[in-house]
C-alpha cells in the first residue's frame, strides 16, 4: 500500500545509482585535529530548540546531531507512579551511508548480507527511499542503547503520570571518516546528556560515553575515525567498544562491543579502559561547558 500521508512521487520512479568514485578524484578530507587526549574537537550548544524543554546541538567532524527533550509531559491512560522514558532516533532520510554499516546483525538474512557486501565492494550508491514509515535498524539500535544507558540516571520517580521523551535527530553524518554506528552512538549519547541537563529534569548523575578501538597490534585507539587510524589489516583482529558511565558513582550504564572475531577478557578490559578514559575526558569537558553557561 502506498503511503497516503506523504507525497511519495511517482511509483515507477527508480532510485539513482551512482558509479563508484575513481580513486584519484576521491579526496578524503584530512581528519580534524585531535586534542592531546586523542578525542576529536567537538562543538556543543544547548537550548537551540525553543519548543521543547531542553535541547543540545553537537557537531563533530561532519556529523551534526540535534537532541531535544520533551517532558515531563502528560501521558494518557495509565496510573503510573513514575515517569516513563523513551528515546526516538531519526536519521535524516538522505544519509545513505548508514545503511552500509557493517555491524553484522544489521541485516536480516544471509541473502541481504551478501547483497550489502556486494554493494559495498562496488561502492555503487543509490538514493534512499523517501517517506519511510518504520524505524531503520540503525535507528532502533541507537534508540535502544541510549534508552538503556540513561534510564538509571533519571530520577523518574519525581515525575509521576508523565513521560520524558528524547528525540535524537542525526542531520548529517560524516561520509569521509567512515563513522561507524558505535561512533554515532557515542556522540548521540553525549549530546543527549547535555540536552537532559538543559531540560531541568533531575538526574542522579550525568552520563558520559566513550568509544575505543583495539587494533590487531593490541594498541588502543580512542575516538577512532577513518583516516588517521586506518582500517584494520586484512585478517587482523579488531575490537571496538562503546561504554557509558555515571562517573561519580563509577557505574557502567551502557556497553556495546563489536568484533568480527572472538574476543577474550583481556581484550575487553583493554578496550573498555580506553572508553573509560574518553568518557572521563568528555565528562570534564561537559562539566566545564555547563559551568561556563551559568
Amino acid at each position: 500500500m502506498s503511503d497516503r500521508r506523504r507525497i511519495t512521487g511517482p511509483e515507477s520512479a527508480l532510485p539513482l545509482v551512482f558509479a563508484p568514485t575513481p580513486n584519484n578524484q576521491s579526496t578524503t578530507k584530512s581528519p580534524q585535529e585531535k586534542t592531546n587526549s586523542g578525542i576529536r574537537n567537538f562543538f556543543i550548544k544547548t537550548g537551540i530548540v525553543s519548543n521543547c524543554n531542553g535541547s543540545c546541538f553537537l557537531e563533530v567532524d561532519n556529523t551534526t546531531i540535534i537532541v531535544s527533550v520533551y517532558g515531563a509531559k502528560p501521558i494518557r491512560g495509565s496510573s503510573v507512579t513514575s515517569a516513563s522514558f523513551s528515546v526516538m532516533t531519526k536519521v535524516s532520510n538522505n544519509l545513505e551511508e548508514l545503511s552500509n554499516f557493517t555491524s553484522s546483525d544489521l541485516s536480516h538474512s544471509k541473502e541481504e548480507k551478501e547483497e550489502q557486501k556486494l554493494a559495498k565492494e562496488d561502492e555503487y550508491v543509490t538514493t534512499n527511499q523517501i517517506g519511510k514509515t518504520q524505524l531503520s535498524l540503525v535507528e532502533q539500535k541507537l534508540s535502544t542503547y541510549i534508552q538503556t544507558a540513561f534510564l538509571p540516571s533519571i530520577l523518574l520517580e519525581k515525575y509521576p503520570k508523565s513521560s520524558i521523551e528524547v528525540f535524537i535527530n542525526i542531520l548529517t553524518n560524516d561520509s569521509h571518516t567512515n563513522s561507524s554506528l558505535l561512533s554515532l552512538i557515542t556522540w548521540c549519547a553525549n549530546c543527549t546528556s547535555l540536552a537532559l541537563v538543559d531540560s531541568g529534569i533531575e538526574l542522579k548523575d550525568m552520563v558520559s560515553t566513550g568509544i575505543a578501538k583495539l587494533t590487531d597490534d593490541q594498541t588502543v585507539v580512542i575516538d577512532p575515525s577513518y583516516s588517521n587510524e586506518g582500517r584494520k589489516t586484512v585478517g587482523g583482529q579488531e575490537v571496538r567498544a562503546v561504554a557509558s558511565y555515571m562517573s561519580v558513582t563509577d557505574t557502567v550504564v551502557g556497553l556495546m562491543i563489536e568484533s568480527e572475531e572472538g574476543v577474550n577478557g583481556e581484550m575487553i578490559e583493554k578496550v573498555i579502559d580506553g572508553c573509560n578514559t574518553m568518557a572521563r575526558e568528555i565528562r570534564s569537558n561537559m562539566n566545564g561547558f555547563l559551568v561556563s553557561t551559568m
Binding site: 512521487g9 532510485p15 558509479a19 554493494a119
Partner: protein, 410 residues
C-alpha cells in the same frame, strides 16, 4: 461602564496569558503598539541563510567529491528561532520514445502517447503539464511520533502545488541526455556525453528509452514558533538553487536494455536501500560530473501576512504603559490607521498570534519581471478580520519588499 464596581487586574505571566487567553493577550499588546514577540507590526523575522551543508552535497562538497552522498542540493536557514534543513535527492523515471518498435505493448502505449503529445502541442507553452515540481516531505519536530500531522501534510502539498503553479521548473530541466560508457580503441573505459562531444556520431545516443529525473525534498523544521510555510518555501528554494543534477550515462556492458529495468525497483532494494548494481542498472550517475538544475526563476518567495482588527474592549490605557521604563526601550508602532482597517502583522509568531489571527493573506510576487503581471499567487483566507482591498494591497506591497530583501540576501 455604568456599574459601580472596581476592576482589579489579575496578573499572569505573558507566556501563560498567551496560552490561556490568546486573543486577550494579543489585543492588549497591539493596543499599545507592540506584538507579543516584541517585533513591531510589520517587522519580519530576521532570516539567516547559512552556507549550504557542503559536506553532504555530492557534487558541491568543497572537500572534493563526497563519494557516498546521494544529496543533490541542500540548504540550512534560520528564520527567527526556527531552524530548517532541506535536502534534495533524486530518482529516475522512464519515458518512452515514439520510435520504439520493440514491443507490441509499447506500440499500444505509443499511440496514446502520441495523441497526448499532439494535444500538448496544441496547448500553449506555459501549460502546467510542461512543468515539474518536487515531492516534498516536511517534518516539524514537536515531540511527537507517528503519522505526519495535518500541518505537515498540508504544507507538503502546498509546496508541491505552489512550485508547479509558479512554473519555475520546466519539464526540460529534468530531462536526461544520456551519455554512453564504452570502450575506446585502446580498450580503456570512457564515458562520452552528447553535449560535450560534437565529433561523435549522434546516432550513438539514440536510446530506445528516455529518462527524466524526479526530485524529492526532505525538509526538517526545529523550533517551530508559528506558521511555517514561508520559511519552508525559502529553504526549498535555496536548496533547489544549489541543486546539481548528475550527468547520467548508459553502461554498454550491461547492454540488454530491453531487459526489464523494473528489476531495479524490486522490493528488496526498496527495503535495504541498496541495489545490486550488477544485475539491473544500466543507467548510472556519473560519480563526478554534474550540471546545475535550471530554474526559470529562483527569486520567488511566499510571504504570509496576518490580519487582525483592534478590539477596543481589550485595550490598555496607553498612559499607564508609557511611563514604564522597559516599555520605552521598545520600538512601538503608532501608525495611524484608518478605522475599520485591520492591522497587518508580518511573520505570525507565538501562541497568541497564531491562535487569535483568523485572516491571512499569502502572496508570491515575481520581483524579477518587468511585466505588469508580477504576481504568481495570492491566497486570501478570510473569516477572521474582514479582508479589505486596502489590506490586500498593503500585503502585496510588504511581500514585494520582503522578496527583494531575500533576493539580496541569498
Amino acid at each position: 461602564m455604568s456599574e459601580e464596581f472596581q476592576l482589579k487586574p489579575v496578573s499572569f505571566s505573558p507566556e501563560v496569558l498567551a496560552r490561556i487567553a490568546p486573543e486577550l493577550s494579543l489585543q492588549r499588546h497591539l493596543s499599545v503598539g507592540v506584538r507579543p514577540c516584541l517585533r513591531s507590526f510589520q517587522e519580519f523575522k530576521s532570516v539567516q541563510i547559512n552556507p549550504q551543508l557542503d559536506s553532504i552535497n555530492r557534487y558541491t562538497s568543497n572537500q572534493g567529491i563526497s563519494s557516498k552522498s546521494t544529496v543533490l542540493g541542500s540548504s540550512n536557514i534560520k528564520c527567527g528561532n526556527t531552524i530548517i534543513f532541506c535536502t534534495i535527492t533524486g530518482g529516475f523515471i522512464e519515458t518512452l520514445l515514439p520510435n520504439d518498435e520493440a514491443d507490441e505493448n509499447v506500440k499500444e502505449y505509443e499511440k496514446i502517447y502520441e495523441n497526448s503529445e499532439k494535444q500538448e502541442n496544441n496547448q500553449q507553452d506555459d501549460s502546467l503539464s510542461n512543468f515539474r515540481t518536487v515531492y516534498p516531505i516536511i517534518e516539524i519536530e514537536r515531540g511527537r511520533t507517528g503519522a505526519p500531522t495535518d500541518e505537515e501534510m498540508i504544507i507538503s502539498q502546498t509546496l508541491h502545488d505552489t512550485l508547479l503553479n509558479s512554473k519555475i521548473l520546466p519539464k526540460e530541466s529534468l530531462e536526461i541526455d544520456l551519455g554512453l560508457k564504452t570502450v575506446d580503441k585502446d580498450n580503456n573505459e570512457i564515458i562520452i556525453y552528447p553535449n560535450e562531444s560534437k565529433d561523435i556520431d549522434s546516432s550513438l545516443f539514440q536510446f530506445p528509452r528516455k529518462y527524466s529525473f524526479v526530485l524529492y525534498a526532505s525538509i526538517q523544521v526545529f523550533s517551530r514558533s508559528g506558521p511555517i510555510l514561508d520559511a519552508a518555501w525559502l529553504a526549498l528554494m535555496i536548496a533547489l538553487k544549489s541543486t546539481k543534477l548528475p550527468c547520467v550515462y548508459f553502461d554498454e556492458k550491461n547492454s540488454n536494455l530491453l531487459n526489464d529495468i523494473s528489476s531495479l525497483s524490486s522490493k528488496k532494494s526498496v527495503k535495504t536501500g541498496v541495489v545490486n548494481a550488477k544485475s539491473g542498472s544500466q543507467i548510472i550517475c556519473d560519480p563526478t560530473k554534474s550540471h546545475d538544475l535550471k530554474l526559470n526563476n529562483s527569486d520567488l518567495y511566499t510571504t504570509t501576512i496576518g490580519l487582525i482588527e483592534l478590539d477596543k474592549d481589550f485595550s490598555v490605557e496607553i498612559e499607564d504603559v508609557e511611563n514604564n521604563e522597559d516599555f520605552k526601550a521598545l520600538s512601538v508602532d503608532k501608525h495611524t490607521r484608518n478605522e475599520g482597517e485591520p492591522i497587518l502583522l508580518c511573520d505570525i509568531e507565538g501562541d497568541a498570534e497564531e491562535n487569535a489571527i483568523g485572516s491571512r493573506v499569502v502572496v508570491i510576487p515575481d520581483i524579477n519581471t518587468e511585466d505588469d503581471d508580477n504576481l504568481v499567487s495570492v491566497t486570501i483566507i478570510g473569516g477572521g478580520s474582514k479582508v479589505t482591498k486596502q489590506s490586500i494591497q498593503n500585503s502585496i506591497g510588504l511581500a514585494k519588499l520582503r522578496s527583494k530583501n531575500l533576493q539580496q540576501q541569498s
